[in-house]
Symmetry: D3
Subunit: 289 residues, 6 copies
């Protein structure tokens, strides 16, 4: 680095990446610029760019939580995706996350479509025997397949569930009959619909407090109300407010959280509020953890 | 239809239109791509296109209301409007709705500007002796004329009121002194301003429960807060939230609702949230009725 | 003016500007199309244009407050700014406001970046011995300097505080450690963070009711939630709702308010909601005062 | 005007409007924010705002033509239009232009839709016995009526032709069979299609040089290629380049031009190129005349 | 269809689709809303919607070519695509085109990404022993595979070439070294780069005149200059002008053209010029053929 | 770098930056995200982000010039600018470029506003006794000061000229009377206006061939026609085409070019054509040099 320059393509406040001296128990960001299975509006492949750019709008001191962002974390760049091949891309993500875990680092993934979570969580389940996935989303993403495809943004949590993890779904307000039947047929999927969150945030917080396994947090940006996050693949009116997602993150602050993804930011406009809010989720997470 | 194709220009989940076998007591959609009397920002003529396109983002199962969208309805296409002539366009709408009513079908109108409601309600008053119009809007639309024009988006509810219907205005937050005086001078216009709705939704629900006549529901998209529905002709800050409009629709679910219009969606951008929310109003209505 | 024309570049409802007959104790609007020190997203120089344009969407009767907009006010046009020189621009604003005060008129400033407030308040402190600045903002703007610069949108309230005024900061949710320490070290800066406003609006209202000095109201549009006002230089999720800002303005209605600024509207799109909401702040202010 | 302010929405370089001292043989700008008969994409009502705003991007010295913009001209503001009533609006425009002519001033009209030209030219034909209208447009606008309406952007040149003027249509590339037949049936409509202009600009220039009557120039912005002017009501690929329109204006520099309109700029975005190019047409005209 | 309505999303001027009375040797439109293998900017899945909407901006009489659009053609709707599976989607397209050919109808495909052409041309090669594909594109699309994928927008012409057709590539200005080597190694790929077209259109026309086989025309919208068609997946500056593509279509007017596709229109904005120009390609084709 | 990742915001094809092994006579990119003195539309601070992002749309093989991009170059990141202080920012740029030159590397600067060139050229004049600046721009940028400011985008070439360099201005179409007089009063400023370029490109090429000093190339994106590059601070209709700028770069291919800047790209939209074209200027330059 020259004396007067910086690398604007890295998440703000990230540490210099010296692979010989990676700090243990730190976090590491990767981007997954992939949106091939999107069924409605595409564009989330630009998520990693716009979310990183938006990260420069925050202060080191997190006023909301009265805390400095002093967690050590790295920005490892973007994964080489295979446009049009979700399964191959998931495998590359999985391999990359395995590399990260081998460095003693916990993964933070910026999507891209939600399918990115499959590879990340697969790699994590090799390391952690039990895992609870806290899944913030407007949709359940529990379809067995989507028009015949098993790897898709619409099936991601079904694939993840097949790995044996527990699921906590928060903010749900769109699903199919089959998904509802599937949830009823399982014992380890807990649901808090959007109106449950509006009315009973304390119940959500209490439930999360009782989780005893390591936790993985997966945030589909469409969990927010589209007034806040309009640039998503499948906007669903009636979503969560900013403060509600803050409360969920705060509820996880004292738990062992072994990874985070923030996916489905689909805008080509720098400074757009979906990107700003996605950056804030990562910023708040790193401030609190 | 070929084996592998579908008609994307029809509202999602609409039935095939076989005019020899129209189901009685079903609903029928028409679009009215007209915005000539718009006084501030124009563009609602594109409403019918963008609202239909947005309808493809919903599931058949309405998770919010735990109900399948299984009401039979048709999409009859758009009305041939006369750009620049509101009165002529209203007459064409009226004739078209009369045709629809003759088929035993109840009309759902996608606007276009609010003036479309005049023709629809005129045709309905011929069929229903008493009618209550539940009118969700930021504005009263009760001007006697607008810069001399009697047919206009700004006078629509005055024309409707002259037909002898009762009015329930919900979400009002912008009006003229003359409109307020007019309301005071009548006996059959009930008002719930935006803050009344925020604070006393139960009163709104109770009032709607007491309506004994058939009901027509007219939704000007500017009733929503502009954070949710920014693309309207006359944005008025401080509007209703998505869940509040859901509650109004739910309150009408057990009443006899003989028609619906959703007007003033004014965007040229597919997937924009005003269009998504307008599509959701129709989707929720059809799921609940 | 010709018989059938009007001047659309003036704020709606403003009086004709006849400099020989300016009404005492009226208000006067100036625009400051300046955004040189913006640190994140630029564009607020277009604020004066888009806010004035948006003013044409309102009725003379303010339904919300049941009051006509009958305060006399003028629109004096825009100040000649010096792109790239904040200090020089602040001096020109100061001189212009002094001219306005000499006419017996109270200034309303449309920004442009927040630095415009420095000149306005400087001129006011010459006229009013004691002054309380009510500052609605997501940020404290209390940095001593910004990358070495003393005149900046990020330092504006520090410069203002140095003039000896009392500060009430409302809606704060982003600040630096240094700013927090500075606030603790002073006696006359009162803070209501965004969550304080959400939960304890009555406390805010009570506090404002107790202010005994003349008041200056400075509204940075980023105090609103970005869902409502997305087009600002530094969007900060989790902000105030429209009704909360209404309540603050209402709380000031019976006080002596000697000036207002509405700054940081940064959009090039006519009818965009940030501009509409900025126009509404001025419109509500003029309806209530 | 205060010492340091200016009125930013008046066309740049316009003279102060002192109705007691209007200079004879000067030009006067009016805006007509009307777009009710638009048949395809609406929005030209914002033309007067965005074209004036764009005028601030030009220098007093017109480098292209090596000439200062030193023609005296005024900006008289916007006409009060009647949304939804084209005939009434045309009459108001006509009255306003008559007032302007009575002041000894020649009208420059910023649209709004093309129908504005009807009133302007009607007023001019009372003053000038013979008139040639040079009409730059992608479309002939010669329909007798449009879905039954006689006053419309699609019929404007038919109405104008009925006033007895000669027509020169330049840039034509879209028309109906009936319009072509009508042109053949008349003796005083001269046509230069877009490809004629590309290949034989000298013929256009020669023809214009031979016109002996006073000339009125009407520029529909869709005459330009949509690459240059995308924001028009009816974009037609394959249009004129900037330099070709410059050449037409230059060809008119030594003729008696008694009025100009620039219409159909339909954008809500400040700085958009259609607006910039429309402003340049007026700027070049005023530099050369 | 009701008396006063029409189906606004069918391509303008398309005939009613009565499958019992399809006219032989007519044309039939299908949309392929698929963009999963896009390697740079996504969004072409919306092409079928926006191109159809733009078709309503044209007159039945094609002034440019002095010819009515009187070719009979149908709009068969959109193909059911499989998001994320290009090969499966190509197979569905192929089956659908086979159905269309069985009706005696020639296919016109609106993309979606360029891979759609594979299925179409595969079905055509079963019917026509020899076929020449005239391919207008900025890119050769001749990669053997793309990051391991054989079915992709980047490999489409390689797959097509493997079917034994002759290729004429027009407007090329971006390719890889491997593609250039491949072209040199074949005998039946003719290239006209963008500058060849600018300078020697007569050579292109002459070459096309000599083609003796049936012709299939494939138009990737990025063949146009991005000034004209900015909304494409891979914009390449320095492309063809509108009149140049018109000339190519005109050169094909007297040949046997057995199909057309217009692909890679990637915008969500109705009325955007890429969509207008894509609609014009189909409109001109149908006017001339 | 992990096995499967890359740094997506470095200019495509740039070499890894190992400061211990920088190749002599290579090129090095810096971004200058600064736009404080912009006088019309702001936003060029985002240039470095969007231009780098757009660089990923190009192939290693430059088909246009039949040449691989095999020049070694680095991407050194962005300079730390001082918002609101042009002089300080110019000094930082100057220091940074001095550092780059000390590494034996020639600077390529992505703006940001044009003032960035001052620091770059100042550093270069210390190294090269004689220098010719080839300046592609719609404007001369030769004002002595701009509203009193000596450091500004509007004065940049005056400051540069004061350093004793020769100037060749290409594409000029907007200037003040004072600038024209200044050019006449000097001996070493050569001008090719936009129409000179359109008609006599051979004269431009010939002139450039005769330059005997090292050359610095400064490209203000507004030199292009706004149809091609609409997102600039001061759009000026009637500019250069893509192929004309290509020809200028080609004419410099055999000269000693010691630096390049590409400035005034002012868009927040990824994939916008101004950004794509700016990236192409750098890409073509690196392919040819």
């Amino acid at each position: 680095m020259l004396l007067n320059t910086y690398e604007p393509w890295k998440f703000a406040f990230s540490a210099d990446t010296d692979f010989d001296n990676i700090k243990k128990d730190s976090y590491g960001i990767i981007g997954v610029p992939f949106d091939s299975t999107t069924s409605y509006h595409s564009g989330s492949r630009l998520g990693p760019v716009v979310v990183r750019e938006a990260s420069y709008g925050f202060e080191k001191y997190n006023t909301n939580f009265k805390s400095d962002l002093d967690t050590t974390f790295y920005d490892f760049g973007d994964v080489n995706v295979v446009p049009g091949n979700c399964e191959a891309t998931c495998r590359i993500v999985e391999d990359t996350v395995r590399e990260i875990l081998d460095l003693g680092v916990k993964p933070i993934t910026i999507g891209g479509e939600h399918s990115a979570s499959i590879g990340v969580i697969k790699a994590l389940t090799e390391k952690y025997e039990k895992l609870t996935v806290v899944h913030l989303d407007a949709h359940r993403d529990l379809a067995f397949d989507f028009i015949g495809e098993k790897y898709s943004h619409a099936t991601v949590m079904r694939r993840v569930h097949e790995l044996g993890v527990d699921l906590v779904q928060v903010g749900i307000r769109s699903s199919s009959w089959e998904e509802e039947e599937f949830v009823k047929s399982t014992y380890n999927i807990q649901t808090f619909k959007n109106k449950d969150v509006h009315r009973h945030m304390d119940a959500v917080e209490y439930y999360l407090a009782t989780v005893e396994t390591p936790i993985y947090l997966s945030v589909d940006m469409d969990v927010f109300d589209p007034a806040i996050a309009p640039a998503v693949g499948n906007p669903a009116p009636g979503g969560l407010f900013t403060s509600e997602v803050e409360d969920v993150i705060k509820a996880l602050a004292f738990k062992e959280v072994v990874g985070l993804d923030v996916v489905e930011t689909a805008t080509d406009k720098l400074g757009e509020n979906t990107a700003v809010t996605a950056a804030k989720v990562i910023y708040d997470f790193l401030s609190l953890i």
